[in-house]
């Protein structure tokens, strides 16, 4: 199978994730889109790992680490979102523009 299939797939998912990050209002949905992006990266890594054969174990290990980091990031991110919700009663990122001019 041409590796490009997986690469294109990964790129597509990544782009969709980017769209989601930029276009969504709800903070939690932005976090969701970020997960999508990370997944795309994982697919990319594992595809390369598969292609490299014996040396490709490192790729899989890397994907493992990405998953772990994603988990940590989601935990902290959600904690922040909840804190914001507690203070502002909303998680609409459009309303959080204090740093404007």
């Amino acid at each position: 199978m041409p590796i490009t299939y997986f690469l294109i797939l990964s790129a597509l998912l990544f782009s969709i994730g980017v769209y989601g990050v930029l276009a969504r209002q709800n903070a939690v949905l932005i976090l969701l889109s970020i997960e999508l992006m990370l997944n795309a990266v994982n697919i990319n890594l594992v595809a390369f790992a598969a292609q490299l054969g014996d040396a490709g174990v490192g790729g899989q290990v890397f994907a493992l680490f990405v998953i772990a980091v994603a988990a940590a990031e989601v935990g902290v991110g959600l904690a922040i979102v909840i804190l914001i919700f507690r203070n502002r009663q909303t998680v609409d990122v459009d309303d959080m523009s204090l740093m404007k001019w």
Partner: protein, 169 residues
């Protein structure tokens, strides 16, 4: 060994499913539906992993991503009074975002096409990438990053608690 017809077919099936789910994640008006569509994408990703001889990663994906992370998201949604039912969840810069995403997709795909045109994944394996082998590598070559990630998880844990606890007195 070239892919069997059923391997490629499976790929295409799962790929389409994944993309559709992903699209639904970013376009649906119901927040819970978005989370559930993400589950679909993640399961599809797991299937991809299996297809790429990374069974251990596939399982970890399912356990951690689907089992923990998406649940955590759902908890977050619930705790932040996610709007019930359909609504408009997009902001004003949809067009710009779309353009951006398209640009990004275009650039990256073109680059990767250029770089890896015609390369094939071989399905012949001499060494299996089993859980045993992965574990072996983690605890020998990549033990340091492993420990670092552990510390990271600990920090994240502590951090999450500190951030979100109520101030007493």
């Amino acid at each position: 060994m070239t892919a069997e017809w059923w391997q490629e077919g499976t790929f295409w099936l799962i790929a389409v499913g994944m993309v559709v789910s992903a699209l639904r994640v970013v376009t649906t008006g119901n927040v819970v539906h978005a989370a559930l569509y993400l589950v679909g994408t993640l399961l599809g990703a797991a299937a991809m992993f299996v297809l790429l001889f990374a069974e251990f990663i596939a399982w970890v994906q399912v356990l951690v991503y689907v089992g923990a992370i998406v649940v955590l998201m759902l908890f977050g949604l619930m705790l932040t009074r996610a709007p019930i039912g359909k609504g408009n969840l997009d902001n004003d810069q949809r067009l710009l975002a779309a353009l951006c995403a398209l640009a990004l997709f275009g650039v990256t795909s073109w680059v990767m096409f250029e770089a890896f045109e015609g390369e094939e994944i071989s399905f012949d394996r001499s060494i299996a990438t089993t859980a045993e082998n992965v574990g072996d590598v983690i605890f020998s070559t990549y033990v340091l990053p492993f420990e670092a990630v552990s510390v990271l998880l600990l920090a994240a844990l502590v951090g999450a608690i500190v951030i979100s606890r109520r101030d007493r007195g």
